[in-house]
């Protein structure tokens, strides 16, 4: 890309260039942000800069004062940052990447659209970029170039989400469960949830459902103490495993994640519970291997039974669909990025 226009550059390290252990070392905790900004503005003398720090990336966006300045910037920044993180410059350089001018625009557009994320198309990154931009603006670190660049990247992300399949469909077991529950019950705030088993898998799905509004939760476990511990964490009710039959008829969503050699819920048990539900279906998610629910329950008319394979199949299907949309999305974002860079260079 050409070197006319603002001397825009980016020094970054992401999940694509650095292993987790290195990313942990390079991460910038909020209390250290002030020091980083001070370093960039006062020691490196950048007129504009922005630090984007998420669990998978640390990126420093900057605008140098001159072309010569930009040329030596990588070395200088690497030296300063490596000193800050107590690493050798060579070591840091091995796990970082450097981009300049139009490449920076293209990279940022990909980041905000979720193309560069570990989970392609995830939306959380856009919020994180917005937060970082707001922070830099508040500190007076973002100037006319970065302002325009980031505003345009938000527009590009919105375009990608609206016009391509990049963010379509849930791609994790937790979010697929939430999506299915929403297709059945709409708003989850009034849905009654029964979690059978207090293990990690169940907890993670419970967390997803609670984040979408599920409040009325009962946890049943072989060990009541485990159920109570989890119940305290999520402000819900804990019961003994022996009570699950009576609780089935009072539940809309049943999450089964119990380590058991034999099914703990049978077809007749679920048929009886479904009969009391009338117009409200019973959504049963069997997360256990071996399965906790008799497969014959899937034939019941008012029961929707999904096991781990079903959820994984949906997640994989959605992921493939997102990946299929990536090329189209990237191509258009590259064009958009070029257009934005041209307009920045023409200023």
């Amino acid at each position: 890309m050409d070197s006319t226009g603002p001397k825009l550059f980016l020094l970054g390290s992401t999940h694509r260039t650095a292993p987790l252990a290195m990313r942990e070392r390079l991460a910038v905790p909020p209390e250290r942000l002030e020091a980083i900004y001070a370093l960039l503005r006062e020691q490196v003398k950048l007129p504009e800069c922005l630090v984007l720090n998420t669990c998978n990336r640390v990126e420093l966006y900057g605008v140098a004062q001159s072309e010569v300045d930009a040329a030596v910037m990588r070395e200088r920044l690497t030296a300063e940052i490596s000193r800050l993180h107590m690493l050798s410059p060579e070591e840091l350089q091995k796990f970082t990447f450097w981009k300049q001018h139009g490449e920076v625009v293209e990279h940022l557009f990909g980041v905000t659209a979720g193309l560069d994320s570990q989970m392609v198309g995830e939306t959380e990154i856009l919020g994180q970029v917005k937060d970082s931009y707001a922070d830099a603006t508040q500190r007076g670190a973002a100037g006319p170039v970065l302002n325009r660049l980031f505003q345009k990247s938000f527009q590009a992300a919105k375009w990608a989400r609206t016009n391509t399949g990049i963010g379509r469909g849930a791609v994790s077991v937790g979010s697929v469960t939430v999506e299915l529950a929403t297709r059945i019950f709409g708003n989850l705030s009034s849905s009654r949830l029964l979690l059978i088993g207090a293990g990690e898998v169940g907890q993670s799905i419970l967390q997803s459902l609670r984040s979408r509004g599920a409040r009325n939760v009962t946890i049943a476990s072989r060990t009541l103490a485990n159920a109570m511990e989890l119940a305290m964490l999520h402000e819900c009710v804990a019961v003994e495993l022996s009570r699950i039959t009576e609780l089935l008829s009072e539940s809309d969503i049943v999450l089964c994640a119990l380590n058991s050699e034999t099914p703990i819920l049978t077809g007749p048990q679920l048929a009886k519970a479904a009969a009391t539900h009338r117009s409200v279906p019973l959504f049963v998610i069997d997360l256990a291997v071996p399965r906790n629910v008799e497969p014959s329950a899937a034939e019941l008319s008012n029961v929707f039974l999904y096991n781990l394979d079903d959820l994984a199949a949906i997640a994989n299907e959605n992921l493939k669909s997102r990946e299929a949309a990536m090329d189209t999305c990237r191509q258009t974002l590259t064009e958009k990025a070029k257009h934005v860079w041209d307009s920045l260079a023409a200023r």
Binding site: R168, T182, R183, I184, F185, V280, S301, D310, A313, E317
Partner: protein, 291 residues
């Protein structure tokens, strides 16, 4: 074909509904929600064209333009689209517009094959009785509500089928939740049943005043439709007709209601004038107007 005559406007309405439906189906099959500005521009334009057509036809008879099977089905489509536009603004149910446009397009196209399209406007004119006109308007409204109920019942069945077959792509992911559709189905049945009950009540009063003006077939069909919906409402309220069975019942009842119109109309009336769906009783006025 598309001219400034009432028929021209009605044809334009059908064409626009069909186009809107086609565009939305194309998008939905690709797993995308339809482009709202384009879709609703087509549907609102269709609605305005149809309203104008029905209004002009009404002006010719100085009354409601529901005097033959063609006008009647056109009016049902109009009510369904009108209700959809209101529900769209209040409930924001995904894909309801697509399905309502589909209903309007199907009814509109079907109406072209019904007697009365090229006949002179018939209406329920010259009855001189505002209660009869009110009865007819309520009956048409209730049929429109039942039409929309059939549409939301089909949406419910589709969503349910998708969940049972573990399909999560395309149109299945875009449909509203089962809970939302079930709540709407319940409300639509109540509204439709109340409107039809009042319409039938008014008709019965008129029938007592002037008995003998209604064919037995029409009377029986009307009563069957009314009783059918009342039974469905009662069973739903008692919790005995729920979920899939309830949705199928709503679809079957509407099919029965709509299909019963044509044979009864065709076998009973001269081409220029035939009565309203439930207007077993309003036939008095029609009969009078027919001499």
């Amino acid at each position: 074909m598309l001219d400034n005559t009432p028929l021209g406007f009605l044809y334009a309405g059908i064409a626009l509904y069909t186009l809107g439906f086609g565009v939305a189906v194309f998008m939905a099959l690709r797993g995308k929600e339809h482009d709202r500005p384009v879709f609703y521009t087509l549907i609102i334009a269709g609605f305005l064209a149809q309203s104008t057509g029905l209004y002009l036809r009404g002006l010719e008879t100085h009354s409601l333009p529901v005097g033959n099977a063609f006008e009647l089905v056109q009016a049902l489509a109009w009510v369904a689209v009108f209700l959809n536009l209101i529900l769209r603004a209040t409930l924001r149910l995904k894909l309801l517009g697509l399905f309502a446009a589909g209903l309007a397009a199907v009814l509109g196209i079907a109406s072209l094959f019904l007697p009365g399209a090229h006949a002179q406007a018939a209406g329920v004119a010259e009855s001189g009785n505002p209660w009869i006109e009110f009865h007819v308007a309520l009956a048409v409204f209730s049929y429109g509500v039942f039409g929309l109920l059939a549409v939301t019942a089909i949406m419910y069945l589709l969503q349910r089928h998708g969940l049972q077959m573990k399909r999560n792509r395309g149109i299945f992911r875009l449909l509203p939740s089962l809970a939302e559709l079930d709540a709407l189905n319940r409300q639509l049945l109540l509204v439709g049943a109340w409107a039809l009950s009042v319409a039938v009540g008014l008709g019965v009063l008129d029938w007592f005043q002037q008995p003998g003006g209604v064919s037995v077939a029409k009377l029986v069909v009307t009563i069957l439709v009314w009783v059918g919906y009342l039974i469905a409402a009662w069973l739903r309220w008692r919790g005995r007709l729920v979920a899939r069975a309830y949705a199928w019942s709503c679809v079957a009842l509407f099919l029965f209601a709509i299909l019963s119109l044509w044979p009864v109309e065709a076998g009973h009336h001269a081409p220029a004038s035939s009565p309203t769906p439930t207007s077993a009783t309003s036939n008095n006025s029609i009969s009078k107007s027919n001499g």
